[in-house]
Structure formats: C-alpha cells, structure tokens
C-alpha cells in the first residue's frame, strides 16, 4: 500500500512537472466567452503548435497577477483584459511590451498586423482580441405597440414607462447619458469624451441619469454580472436594459424574444496581454501561442461560437465568405457583429485613457449620486 501511494505521488509529481513545463496558461472570464475562445482558437492553436493550452477563469482586474508577481511565483502566461487594465499593467511593469508588426502575424494578403487591426492599441502591452458592444435591448413580447429605436428612447419614460437596468458602475452610463442629452457621437468621434471632460460634463451626464432613476415612471435597477440584463428582460423586471451584445445574442438564440437597439452603442474591446516572466515567457512558447491565436483564422474562429467581432478586418472577410458561420449551421454572424454597417450608423468608441485617468474620482461621484437616489 505504502509503495503504491509513493509511486502515485512520484507519478503525479512528474506529471505536474511535465505539464507545467510545456502548457501555456491563458486566463479569461469564463462561461460562454471562454468556451468560444477555447473552441475557436485555443484548441486549434494547441493542435497546430503541439503546445498544450490551459484555460483558467478569473473575475477580472489585475490584483491576482500583481500578487503573483510580488510573491515571485507567476503561473499565468496570457491574460484576457480590459483596455484600462492593459494600461495599468503596462505602467506597473506586469506585461510585456510588444513590437507589434514583428510579434503578430500579417494578414493572408500580407498587410502588416498594425494595419489589419481596426484601430490602434491603448498601450504597447495590448493586442486586440474581440470587439463587443454595450448596447441596449428590450423584450418584444412585453414592450407594447411602440418600439424604441434610438438611445433617446432609453431615457423616454413618457412613451416607454418602466424600469431600466443599467450597469452598476459609471462606465458606459455616462457615455450614453451625454449622448441622449444631445452630444452626437457620430461614428466614434472624440466629442463624447471631450464633452465629458469639459467643466460640468460629468455632472451633466449624471443629472440625466439621476432624472431617469428618480422618475416615478422610470427607475433604475443596477446590474453586476453580464448574465443579468437578458434575465431581467426575460422575466419582466425591467422594460429596457443596457448590456453586452453577446449576452443578448445568446438569449435570442435560446428563444427569448429580445430586440437589440444599436443606435449609440459603445464599441469596446477585449485584449490579450502577455505576462512578463510567466512560465512560458523565457522559452517563447507563450508568445508563439499568442501569435497563433490572434492570427486571421484564429480570431475568425471564435465568432463561430459567440457574437463578438474579431479585431482583424481580414477575419471578417473569412466569416463573410463562410456564412452561415455560427455553430448551429444556419445563423449568419456578420449582421450580429457590433461592427456590421447596419449597427454602426452612430456609435461611441470607448476611450480607455479617460477611464484610466478618471475612474477613481468619477467612481466616488457616481457612488455619491447613487447614495442620494
């Protein structure tokens, strides 16, 4: 008995060494999203390069990787992060700074990576992964005869009485409030954030939201998790809810009669960052995996499983040519992408610098406003 247990112990030790020596650990948000990443480009990359890719879930933020770094034992290689986290992580020296065109594969037609991606990166430590949208949706079964179709309607409690679900933090809410208050973002112009940064801009947006939340015909429910908005709409708690388009899309696929309104949507991004001195950093295996996952085919792959848009223009072409692209074999994906022409008539482009600069101060004002509701 003792011998067997010793043998097992030795075996598991050897196994843990071998797996940790070769596998690259990618950390992401879990749920349907990680599933789309794993099936879309994680598994194909692992098969192609012969490097196992492990997926680990986390709840966002940099505290865990910062703690790993301070303890001197880093176990993560690649992290899926928000733009502002790439900025903070870059400043703190947690992430590797890329040499973009050298580190990332060009498009199939030879266009360098920096040209193939939709916009520039928020920091040198970021490489784009998906674009998603903060838009809003309503339940077609309960809304009545009149249907909302613009961001202004979200704040219109006369024609659309009932509660609204909005994100618990200030992010996304200030943008839509100032847009509904008459600041036209056009196609992602910087006017939205210029107006917010101007004297009284924040107050202007907050007053608009305060008016909505204190309106006896309106009222606000604050959501924490991405799964909540479709849920709140499905069970009739609210008439309209802001949320992430992929979550609304999933609810639609499950048969909930939700309709998404794209006017004034906020285009936001997810990024990958490479952890400096992670287990696969020195031998370059983590970088190899990252390069493969963010290639044209790699990024197109994830759109088979979720309605988020790949960052590369060349990936869209692959999806377009391969329609119906969704895993069920009958849904065309391009129309559900935040970047589809019909969905981008008027949109806000998320500005991570604004939030990296102001999140603490605005966060305090926002909580003070919420406390007075």
């Amino acid at each position: 008995m003792k011998k067997i247990s010793k043998l097992l112990l030795a075996l598991s030790f050897v196994l843990s060494i071998t797996t940790s020596a070769f596998a690259v650990t990618v950390v992401s948000w879990g749920g349907a999203y990680t599933e789309s990443q794993k099936l879309g480009y994680g598994d194909p990359t692992a098969a192609k390069l012969g490097i196992p890719v492990n997926w680990v879930d986390y709840t966002g933020g940099l505290s865990e990787i910062k703690a790993q770094k301070e303890a001197g034992k880093i176990t993560w290689d690649i992290i899926d992060v928000y733009a502002k986290d790439t900025i903070v992580g870059c400043d703190e020296g947690i992430f590797h700074e890329f040499d973009f065109d050298k580190d990332f594969a060009p498009a199939p037609d030879g266009t360098p990576a920096s040209q193939d991606f939709f916009t520039g990166m928020p920091s040198k430590c970021a490489v784009g992964n998906i674009l998603y949208s903060w838009n809003y949706a309503y339940n077609d079964a309960t809304i009545g005869a009149k249907k909302p179709n613009s961001l202004k309607d979200f704040f219109d409690t006369k024609n659309f009485p009932g509660k609204r679900a909005i994100y618990k933090g200030a992010m996304s809410n200030l943008e839509i409030a100032i847009t509904a208050d008459g600041v036209n973002p056009g196609k992602g112009s910087d006017l939205t954030y210029r107006k917010l940064e101007a004297d009284g801009g924040i107050d202007r947006a907050m007053n608009k939201l305060k008016a909505l939340c204190t309106d006896p015909n309106g009222g606000c429910v604050f959501w924490n998790a991405g799964a909540q908005p479709p849920e709140l709409l499905a069970n009739g708690e609210v008439v309209m809810a802001t949320g992430w388009n992929g979550r609304f899309f999933n609810a639609q696929m499950e048969g909930t009669p939700l309709v998404q309104v794209w006017d004034g949507q906020i285009l936001d991004y997810e990024y990958f960052a490479l952890v400096k001195d992670g287990p696969g950093y020195a031998d370059g295996s983590a970088m190899k995996v990252l390069r493969e996952m963010t290639s044209t085919e790699g990024l197109a792959g994830s759109a088979k499983y979720i309605a988020y848009a790949p960052w590369r223009k060349s990936s869209i072409a692959i999806i377009d040519a391969g329609e119906p692209w969704f895993k069920d074999g009958k849904t065309s994906m391009v129309q559900h992408m935040p970047t589809a022409p019909a969905n981008t008539k008027r949109y806000i482009l998320m500005n991570p610098d604004f939030w990296a600069d102001n999140q603490d101060e605005i966060g305090e004002k926002w909580e003070a406003m919420k406390a007075g509701l």
């Binding site: 709840t59 966002g60 933020g61 940099l62 505290s63 910062k66 900025i87 903070v88 870059c90 400043d91 703190e92 020296g93 618990k168 107050d203 939340c213 606000c220 429910v221 604050f222 924490n224 069970n235 009739g236 708690e237 610098d353 990296a356 600069d357 102001n358 999140q359 603490d360 101060e361 605005i362 966060g363 305090e364 004002k365 909580e367 003070a368 919420k370 406390a371 509701l373």
Partner: protein, 415 residues
C-alpha cells in the same frame, strides 16, 4: 549536612536535574502548540501587519523624485513653482523615462489626483526631446497639468515617507497646500455614507437575526430529541449551501414577478400593476442577509439554552411569579452569554459582507467592503484598500471592547 546538596544517582544535584526534566516537558508542550502558533503567525499576524504597513508606506515616490521634493520644500503653494523646481523634476523624471521606470509613478500620482496618469505619460513621451534650458516653459507646453497649481500641491503632499493620508481619505478628509486637514469636495464625500450604511445594515441584520433566532432556539432546546433534530437540520441546511446559490434563490423569490409577489397579489394585499418592490433596495439586503446569517445566531443561543434546567422556570413560577416575570428574571439573564456570542458573530460577519448586498441591494447595496474590493481589484490602490481594511478592523475591535465593558468578555459562550 545542611550545605550538602541532595544528589541524584548520576551525581548531578537533584534540583538541577529536576529543572532539566521540567524544561524538557515544557518544550514538548510548546511543540504541541507550535503548529497552531506558526499557523496564526503566517495566516493572521503577518498579513495584518503587512496590511497596516502598506497603508502608511509611501516611500516609493519619495525615492523616485528626491530632487523635486527638496525643491518643493520651500514652495508656498500659492502660485506655480519656479524654474528651479521644474528643473529638479526634469532631473528626477528624465532617467525614469529613459529606463522605463516611470510606470509606478503614474498610478501612484493618479490616486492622488485624477489626470496625472495621462499627463505624465505625455511628458514621458516628450521629455527625451527637451532642451537643457527653460524647463518650466517646455513642461507647460507639454501638458496642462503642469500649468495647474493643484497638481503641484498634490505632488507636494506625497513627500513624506510615511503618511496617514489614506486614512484621511477613508473619512472624506484631505490635506490642503499647508498640510491642514480639510473636507473632501462635497460631491466626492462618499466614504462616510458608506461607513454609516455598513454599520446600519449590520446593526439591523443583527437585530432581525436575534428576533428570529431566539424563539427558534428556545423551541430547539425544549422540543423532544426526535423533533428537535429535524428542526436542527432545517436550520443547518442553508449552512451547507453555497452563499451565491442562496443569494440567487432570494433573487428569484423576491423579484417583482416572483412567487412572493404573486402570493401577495393573490392574497389581495397589492394590486397586480402595483407590485411591491422587495428587491434592489434595503428590504432585499435585510431579508437575504438575515437568512444567510441566521445559523450563526441560532447555534450559540441553542447551546446556551440547552444547559438551562427547566426546573428553574418551574421554581420561579411556584414562588409566585407570572410566566413573564419568570422569563424576564430567570430565563433571559441566563441566555445573555449566548446572545452576546451570537450578536457579536453576526455583526462582525455582516460588517464585512458585500456580494449579497451588491446583488440584491440595488443602489443601496454598495457597502464599505465593495470599495475595498474595488481598490484591491480594479484601481490597484492597495494602500488605500489596506487603510480601509485597518479602519474596519479597528471598528470591530472597538465593538469588542465596548461589549467587554458592558457585558464582560468572560460572559460569552459559544457552546
């Protein structure tokens, strides 16, 4: 004879060999508690010490900008500093920018005043092209923060190596240019609201738990074994269920189209189009937290009540007291140790709660622990999170101290 010492068989005086044996035994006993002692040091004393240390440690920035702080010492904080100060800052910042070591500075100063981060980043990009004269002019042309006295005041206030500024921030206070303590801007005073709200929620949850748990525990303690065991399982069952599952089930039950509201409408207590809001306000927080924390009140109360002999009540009644008098004068005072233990447990646990209130409490659901989590996870201002955590710890210790003064800590019984 009297001076001669008693020797043991190997010739060593008995006294010494006895002491030796005793020392050995003491060491053995110490080794038994050793693991626990070590465990406490590693998991408790050390992290708390580290937290206290972090909340006041501000050496990083002082080490990075020595010349600047030396130059700022003479500055009065009324108008923009002179050329020499800008030059001193250039001397400090230029090597940091060249060696890519300025990153931590952006974050640290942005905690102090919003806007520092992008201002310093812009400066980082342009400073390499600066000419070696007219520093003030060049800085002011680079970014608007260098034209703003407020940013210099914020910078000057970070000079001391050890600082209690984070504690002030936790109380909505701050330093002005002369290091006087003043109130935070009015629209940013949020922490006091959060402290009061946290204490209020914890207090009421404790009261509700007590009101519900007292009769239940009494029933548990007096019922025959076979019924009380069943009841005990009902009390403990939620204990074995995950916190998040319980919170989400309350969300299902309490929502406006949920079963509880359906029942209220069916009973005719409310109109169908005017259903009461049971969630996304304090009601939701109280209901869910009370249910979740109830076992922590029931268990100490039960264990104390179990030891009270029923004959005491009978004796009280036979001496002429009404049942109420007997309860008030005999039973209740005997349960006080259990009440104390239960209330302390529930209050201390409630004061640190944040997931449940955040999910069911709506706008009123953010408590001080949410702010700590935000600074740990999102803004990475760990020193501020540590300061808030220390303040919470001091609050709990104060409550413990008050309890000790009022009731006496020996008078507490967990079982």
């Amino acid at each position: 004879m009297s001076t001669e010492k008693i020797l043991s068989s190997d010739g060593i005086p008995l006294e010494i060999s006895l002491k030796k044996a005793e020392r050995k035994n003491k060491l053995k006993a110490l080794m038994l508690v050793g693991p626990l002692f070590l465990f406490l040091i590693i998991t408790y004393i050390f992290p708390i010490g580290d937290m206290l240390f972090r909340s006041v440690d501000d050496r990083m920035i002082t080490q990075k900008l020595p010349n600047t702080f030396a130059a700022l010492e003479k500055w009065d904080g009324k108008e923009l500093p002179d050329e020499a100060t800008y030059e001193a800052f250039y001397k400090d910042f230029y090597p940091l920018a060249i060696n890519k070591e300025a990153g931590k500075l952006y974050q640290r100063l942005n905690y102090e005043k919003s806007g520092f981060s992008s201002g310093l980043k812009k400066t980082n990009r342009t400073i390499k092209k600066f000419e070696k004269a007219n520093y003030k002019e060049q800085f002011m042309a680079t970014h608007k923060i260098w034209k703003d006295v407020d940013y210099w005041i914020a910078l000057k206030n970070t000079a001391p190596n050890w600082s209690y500024a984070k504690y002030l921030k936790g109380l909505d206070l701050k330093f002005d240019q002369d290091r006087n303590i003043i109130q935070q801007d009015e629209d940013r005073r949020i922490h006091k609201i959060l402290w009061l709200r946290t204490i209020k929620v914890a207090f009421w949850v404790t009261v509700f738990c007590f009101l519900l748990a007292y009769p239940i525990s009494h029933l548990l303690a007096t019922l025959p074994m076979k019924y009380s065991n069943l009841l005990m399982i009902c009390v403990l069952l939620p204990f074995w269920t995950s916190l998040l599952v319980r919170t989400s089930s309350w969300m299902v039950l309490l929502q406006q189209q949920g079963p509880i509201n359906d029942l209220i409408v069916w009973l005719g207590w409310a109109a169908d189009d005017n259903r009461p809001e049971l969630m996304y306000n304090v009601v939701g927080t109280f209901v869910a937290m009370t249910q979740i924390l109830l076992p922590f009140m029931v268990l100490p109360l039960y264990s104390v009540m179990k030891t009270i002999s029923p004959s005491l009540m009978r004796a009280g009644k036979s001496l002429g007291g009404t049942p109420f008098t007997a309860f008030r004068q005999i039973y209740f005072p005997l349960t006080i140790p259990g009440i104390g233990a239960g209330c302390l447990l529930v209050f201390i646990l409630a004061i640190g709660y944040y997931i449940t209130p955040a999910l069911v409490g709506g706008a009123s659901g953010s408590l001080i622990s949410n702010t700590i989590a935000y600074h740990m996870k999102s803004s990475l201002d760990w020193s501020f999170a540590a300061a808030l955590g220390s303040m919470l710890l001091v609050g709990v210790l104060t409550i413990y101290w008050i309890y000790n003064k009022l009731v006496g800590i020996d008078n507490i019984k967990l079982g």
